[in-house]
Symmetry: C2
Subunit: 331 residues, 2 copies
């Protein structure tokens, strides 16, 4: 008589493990990394009311829980291998679990990865996924490699997820088509795995945008500063945005673009000499990219934060930058 | 200006990474498995009210959250390498975090492993740790290797954690000394990592006891049955127990021993010809072990569950076995 916990795991989450030596059902899963590879690992925890709303469809939640983790592998330039899932559920709900598992498995299949282990327990809804990827030693894309003179790039379009969140919160009214578009951006982000792989050896630094452009760019500046202090200049009109976002006021556009959160696009830097290679990587991975600014030498590492990121308008005037990063504790 | 989330991670959980190529602070951590090694991975999620009570000291909670994961590596015979932590907190509480981090780091240091990544968010208290270990290819201890004729062994003593839980719930009154002993078993389990390593090539199967002996033994029976159906005979008086537990009624003793939960001892099997090797592994790892019964051939894989585990008393009489596994959804 399997306990409820084991029964639940078996019913929705056990599938045959083909690529890794041992999957769900033993004390540990076993992974077989190839010789010469580093194993890239990332964990993200999603909490109801913080990372998703109770209104999200279970399939979309399953998709997003894995997507945000794959996005971390993408930011490292790692090839996804496998993942584990730990899940706390207020009650066993077959409809929820069937949908959640469907969204999860579909995205996992798209990336050729499998669920190798995990844990299920009772508790307030909480989803913790850990992903594993491989990257050749010395080739991982890091946050710390940005240098003065580098171009600053982003993939896709920014700000739609935040627009979708605001619409669901009732703070902005959208047309039906714009609402569908923005909600999809929020609930079904596309992890930029193929772009991350194509940027190995091309990008000087990379990370994924989860807390908004301004906050995440600061992480690249901070970690790269141990080499030499740098600051960033961005061109507000160069920030890629959807028609749905363009229909909003400039104030709202800028908020969503600069501190939107939940974009799951790649933010990366590359030497100007590598522009053609960046565009080739974008074409090869079928992912749009936009150059949004440039890194410059800063005079000191103790520059006040506000001056580390300058945002210019079309006339070259500096915008005031009241934006902060999207903080899941306070937003 | 780091957001609260990043500040929190930095303050309590960022320590220099010495053994792995990249630790906390980038999108992914990087691990460098040695050639010829499989990577063993396990995730466990701890929820307040299910896996710990709100009265637990933060240091003990930090210890236990990592200990239950290390116990899974022990059950596989894997050498611990690193771990990630995902933490949902109702609020930022420096006292809690300082104590929690202290308990976590102390146990990590004992095993020479380091925190390489993670995630912190607001939400109902939830701790999800993923551990990574190495095991030479083909040498992992699995649940599926038990064979008819094998001895059944456990490490340490069983049932004290459940006794401690019952005392904290107020369903049993203990002397002060017995309460301290039982509470320590519940809150500060010792993962049997050294024993797991010493049992490579000796044990035919292994797992760690988290849901109680009867439920966990069923997992070994079920997974080993794909080779040939087996059943287990246990000797109730051979089950190792503390003096604190001996002072309880036989009914309570048997409940705690058979379906206690949270023991985090190793349950393993080995051929009778390997008894001396088992005892040598126990001595080498300074871990007591007890032989508690034997595996026998079963006639069919469809035997009703009740008959799969027979429990005998000192006179060789079969005890009725009303015990179920400890289920965190219902217990």
């Amino acid at each position: 008589m399997p306990s409820g916990e084991f029964d639940l795991i078996a019913r929705y989450f056990t599938r045959p493990t083909r690529r890794q030596p041992l999957g769900v059902g033993d004390d540990c899963a076993l992974l077989a990394p190839q010789a010469g590879m580093h194993l890239a690992v990332s964990s993200d925890m999603l909490v109801e009311g913080r990372h998703f709303l109770s209104t999200v469809a279970p399939e979309h939640l399953g998709h997003k829980a894995l997507a945000v983790n794959l996005s971390d592998l993408a930011a490292c330039g790692a090839q996804p291998m496998a993942y584990t899932l730990a899940l706390a559920l207020p009650r066993m709900d077959a409809t929820f679990l069937a949908g959640f598992a469907q969204g999860l498995h579909r995205l996992a299949d798209e990336h050729g990865i499998e669920l190798v282990g995990g844990d299920t327990t009772a508790g307030p809804l909480n989803i913790c996924i850990t992903v594993f990827g491989e990257v050749p030693r010395g080739q991982a894309l890091l946050r710390s490699g940005a240098r003065a003179g580098d171009d600053i790039w982003v993939s896709g379009q920014l700000g739609d997820a935040r627009l979708g969140l605001e619409a669901l919160r009732g703070t902005v009214a959208l047309s039906k088509a714009d609402f569908i578009h923005a909600r999809k951006a929020l609930e079904c982000p596309t992890p930029r795995v193929a772009l991350g792989l194509a940027l190995r050896g091309v990008a000087s630094s990379a990370m994924d945008l989860s807390d908004g452009l301004v906050g995440d760019l600061r992480h690249i500046l901070a970690r790269s500063a141990s080499h030499a202090p740098i600051r960033a200049t961005l061109h507000i009109d160069a920030l890629p945005r959807s028609n749905a976002l363009r229909r909003q006021s400039r104030t709202r556009q800028h908020l969503c673009l600069m501190s939107g959160g939940d974009d799951y696009e790649l933010l990366f830097t590359a030497e100007p000499a590598k522009r053609a290679q960046v565009l080739a990587a974008a074409a090869q991975s079928d992912t749009p990219v936009s150059c949004i600014g440039r890194m410059e030498a800063a005079t000191t590492t103790t520059t006040p934060n506000e001056a580390l990121i300058r945002v210019l308008d079309a006339q070259g005037m500096t915008l005031s930058t009241p934006w902060t990063s999207f903080d899941h504790f306070t937003a």
